[in-house]
């Protein structure tokens, strides 16, 4: 049985990769996918901690995180599609005002 700390360490690595991805990329879709990567890393840590302390509450929270992530992806992609329709370009550096 692999100790749970290994899973938490892996989740820290994945989370950091997600943070770097959010900062270095210019495409909002890739930034969005990096955010999904971070959510997944947090989920992995939740499951590992739940296993470590012997209760199922962590897994219930992961279930809710998945539901919220599904809703968030749908709304976020709709916003990106709407921005693309108005601007015809897709780079986060162009998006510096709230309305145009």
């Amino acid at each position: 049985m692999v100790p749970e700390s290994y899973y938490v360490a892996l989740s820290a690595v994945l989370f950091s990769i997600g943070v770097v991805g959010v900062v270095i990329r210019r495409n909002p879709l890739v930034i969005f996918m990096s955010i999904e990567l971070m959510l997944n890393a947090a989920n992995l840590a939740l499951v590992a901690f739940g296993q470590r302390f012997g209760n199922l509450d962590g897994q219930a929270v992961v279930f809710f995180v998945m539901a919220v992530a599904a809703a968030e992806v749908a709304v976020g992609l709709a916003i990106i599609v709407t921005i693309f329709r108005v601007r015809r370009r897709l780079s986060v550096d162009d998006l510096s005002v709230m309305r145009w």
Binding site: L10, G21, F63, V73, A74
Partner: protein, 163 residues
Amino acid sequence: MAYVSFFVIAAIAVGSALGLILRPNAIHGALFLVVNLGSVAALYLMLGAEFLAAAQVIVYAGAIMVLFVFAIMVLIPGKEEAGPDPRRGARLLALPVGGLLLLLLVFVVMGRWSGPSAPTGLSGSAGAVGRLLFTSYLFPFELTSVLLLAAMVGVLLLARRRA
């Protein structure tokens, strides 16, 4: 044996995450993310969370990634992120910052790790998680349905033509 499979799956997960953030093509990134989500599902199985492993494959790798791939197909035909980066210097700073964040996370989380692991043999089967969701977490569970409905209506409103 468990160690070998853990390290193999962990290497796949880290490699695909790096592929996601380093490949210039967004569709490659989406496929890398699918691999990453699948390997995390395998890790859930190793942790005994069978229900979450199935939900991960169905919800994330299935539904969410299909949405992403659709959006990429609609928005970006071919390559993107060509041309020089106007903020290259600032973006290069991301690497040391990410490394520092990793160190911080490892120190904070691992520093508090005391005592041996309790071998509980916790079962994350659909029955056990479902019982918990429909007793202690009944109210948040019902709120989830409202959230999904609100998201659906919001997406319809946003994506409507001539909104």
